[in-house]
Subunit: 317 residues, 4 copies
Amino acid sequence: MALSEAQQQEIDALRQETAPTRRAVVPALEEILYQPFPLLDHGFLRVIDYMGDDTAIVQAARISYGKGTKKINQDQGLINYLMRHRHTTPFEMCEIKFHAKMPIFVARDWIRHRTANVNEYSGRYSILGKEFYIPAHDQVCGQSTTNRQGRSTPLNDQERNRVLEILEADARQVYGHYEEMLNADEEGNLIDPNRSGLARELARMNLTLNYYTEWYWKIDLHNFLHFLSLRADSHAQYEIQVYAHKMLEILKLWLPYTYEAFMRYKFNGMHLSEQAIDVVKKVIRGEKVTQESSGMSAREWREFLEQLNLEEQAIAA
Amino acid sequence: MALSEAQQQEIDALRQETAPTRRAVVPALEEILYQPFPLLDHGFLRVIDYMGDDTAIVQAARISYGKGTKKINQDQGLINYLMRHRHTTPFEMCEIKFHAKMPIFVARDWIRHRTANVNEYSGRYSILGKEFYIPAHDQVCGQSTTNRQGRSTPLNDQERNRVLEILEADARQVYGHYEEMLNADEEGNLIDPNRSGLARELARMNLTLNYYTEWYWKIDLHNFLHFLSLRADSHAQYEIQVYAHKMLEILKLWLPYTYEAFMRYKFNGMHLSEQAIDVVKKVIRGEKVTQESSGMSAREWREFLEQLNLEEQAIAA
Amino acid sequence: MALSEAQQQEIDALRQETAPTRRAVVPALEEILYQPFPLLDHGFLRVIDYMGDDTAIVQAARISYGKGTKKINQDQGLINYLMRHRHTTPFEMCEIKFHAKMPIFVARDWIRHRTANVNEYSGRYSILGKEFYIPAHDQVCGQSTTNRQGRSTPLNDQERNRVLEILEADARQVYGHYEEMLNADEEGNLIDPNRSGLARELARMNLTLNYYTEWYWKIDLHNFLHFLSLRADSHAQYEIQVYAHKMLEILKLWLPYTYEAFMRYKFNGMHLSEQAIDVVKKVIRGEKVTQESSGMSAREWREFLEQLNLEEQAIAA
Amino acid sequence: MALSEAQQQEIDALRQETAPTRRAVVPALEEILYQPFPLLDHGFLRVIDYMGDDTAIVQAARISYGKGTKKINQDQGLINYLMRHRHTTPFEMCEIKFHAKMPIFVARDWIRHRTANVNEYSGRYSILGKEFYIPAHDQVCGQSTTNRQGRSTPLNDQERNRVLEILEADARQVYGHYEEMLNADEEGNLIDPNRSGLARELARMNLTLNYYTEWYWKIDLHNFLHFLSLRADSHAQYEIQVYAHKMLEILKLWLPYTYEAFMRYKFNGMHLSEQAIDVVKKVIRGEKVTQESSGMSAREWREFLEQLNLEEQAIAA
């Protein structure tokens, strides 16, 4: 990420202003407000605004006239209870707003979360910046053979270097042509006074999907947690995980009790199917179970053992 | 509205605390934060929290790294432009949270606005309070004959008094029976140690629809404006209009430019159909138009003339 | 449920018409289309329309140009996989539309599911029918002491009879007064030509929450399953469970593979927290665990044992 | 659009099957069901399924037990009334499902309509096809100077040819490199047995935004009309307008009354601001109005005159 000097100054100016408020304030989040956290090679995530703190959840859950808090351990217990029992409406009472910059292919997955508010930089209205994503060496990986949607281990040096060479060269070339078609450079300066230049809404189609875009993105806490449960998951594409993991850190600063409850009951939890419950019960009773007797498919059985870090013989023999 | 002393103290305590924040602050809204505005006979509306101000809209529209503002008239011009051209996403970047108390029949209409976050007082979990809505004298009106959904003029004294007598007596009676069935009074005190009492989730069904409920309600600005355009409209039921009109006052304090743009382009605007545009064009050209030549149905024609405060002869003769 | 003769004739007429379609057709659902299933004392549920069958899910998942099906066991395997791994978008490709009649207090819980389309009978526009819900004898239960939101066992005869007497008498009385205030009976016949009658939108507030309302309700399959997972759950109020359980039967007719996957992976599954996973792992390794060493609260521990039908000593001693 | 022979056969097979249904059937839509309508150079739109017809709207509006229809002119009058008065819930009772293929930059605008169900072809899971969009000659236009988001007139031959040459050559080059990095061709055939190949989820980032993607897309009628009002509008980008205009034709086949009401009251209507209403009133009264006296900004004034096809002097002098 290379913020321009002007951008950095705007951020600094914003950070220097404070004003008194009667609203719930979270000092740990104020500390980082507006600051860009660099992600990938040119992306970032900035918290722009937030509404509510952990007590705002208990306040709404108790339909309070005041803060709604009781003893700290009762408040935390309530948050745990609400999380465990899927009482989701009080979690919708907090809201967070980010400014994020990410490659277009990441944005395309991200936008699929519909219950959020988004205002994206427009390539019809403005010229897109010359910034594209090139993966770090350890992320240039082969196709996973067990997971059709995933990647496996890093490519060897030779193959990796060729990939990086291609990505870099093609990205540079398409941007050069983008400028040529626009008849304008990145800053909007006219190139050739004798040409008209192509409309921005058309020229943009020549850019590759690793070009960066940016948006303001606002979401309520309940849907934010849902986003995190899917995008911070190890099956999500690495490039979006990076954003989700930074968000998890931010969540921890913002709402420490909610973060703890989320990690405990959702993120680090697991779901057992009817058959898996049965297997667990049998094992606890000391009975032996095999895939055949489990009622699970081979794939489910493998997933089940993995999730519990079990060796097959531990329960089958 | 009769807040208990304890409730009033909780509110006062909340209002006395302030803390510094780097977020956008709206002093005029801070001024009234947490305060209950009495509405109808026992209802109220309180602003609990808010996110953003007018500049947050331009900040998002410009995908800014700082405040995003330019000159004040440019900012206002941008807000007007966005409102006029239905660029709605920047308006989703503000959010407001209310605590509201209203009759159940009002809540039933209100909840139909789905793009909002709600946490309602639960009659399964708690005993509902003994507060019910009785309309003011000038609101005890007959059925409208022109609008199947509306009311007309006030009833005469005799009919009105009988209505008020019925509403009051029935509401009191059903609550008495509610307590009897619960075997508990409003405060939860046991009535008869020899009876079990009916489950709360069942006993509540004996209450009438004018009993008050309350909820925390949070909504983004775009959907808030949509709510206001429908519920502050003169065709909405009076009892929900009262809440919407108070919200309009709050909107004016919170986001003065957005309020002005909303009133100008949406709330006080009107929609012309294809046929109505044609009529307007003809009239401007000095041609005469009648319902027959307008292509409108009799009802549309009447609505059209009313909206423009036109006498039929002004354009037809 | 007492359908009028005219209503029954309308339904019969609809059921007699068939026409050829190229769309996916589910004969088992066609069989019951439009038929009212009586629920509670005066309610019902009718399937009005549906879109898609099990193969529509695999068709969308495979972005097919044709039916999208392969071998039946591959299609079922795919549906199981999608359900297990929370790939929810293909399930949104089916849609179902119901006509339902239920007590207002049930409708108030039901409507909280926002991702659905609803058109409700309007008490502003029409006179509400004289039908109210009276619980069956075995449903007149006391308050649960372990679950603040639930009910326990049936009341004794004396207490129950008094409850039923109250509910019945109050419901009749408020409706009589509703008619008197309207100055019209249930069919809209004028009562007293010398009185104006109160506006419908006001008179309705005198009805109790056990009066029936009705609506058309349409939802996509993914959100339908979410509704079922919450409302067919044993913690939901009995009166809404009744509707959800009937919907489960309908789901089984409509989409047998999806039904099976839903029951297996969601409805009859359970969620383990991080701590619960740890306990299960320890037990499988033959270690002893107690509440104290589990990292769970007393309440969580109790819930955990219950979900696995475990006696404490089985794992603690 | 070049459907493979296998794809065409799958479609033909689907079209040959019919089965009887009791549901609402629209013969004109059945006629075109599953057929791809070619759009742009390689895209298409196919109707996959639908729920409801015009009578389904009146059926829901009247909460009917049967078809809900009265006389045809009453049904049409009701649809007009609902459209005119923004009673949107009955329109949500119809649903339509499409299979669409379009350039990624079109998909990026399209997906911003959140109230829809989408299942997109996955570049993580599968290899993307070698099809990219090249604008037709008359669409290779310069940047509009009056509308920052739009295009103006076609470029001259020389400039246009250079643009087309660039787009074509870059698209071919990035796809060649995509295959090289994947170490597989479009059909998935291994290229070099000595290389691993890059993961699909990474290789896809080298494709340009004019590559085609496809999805299943399902939406209710109310939100469909909203989509059309924005995307069939002359200010939308031409490439998405093409899809929206085809959808308008399909709407006309599917729901002729709704189509007519939509065109009349929404699509071909216009919105007047408070100031514009005032100007219209003055003009009708024979008063003169200028921009200065209108209370409108210069830009609003120009837009207003354009919308009514008015010359300034017609009302100002």
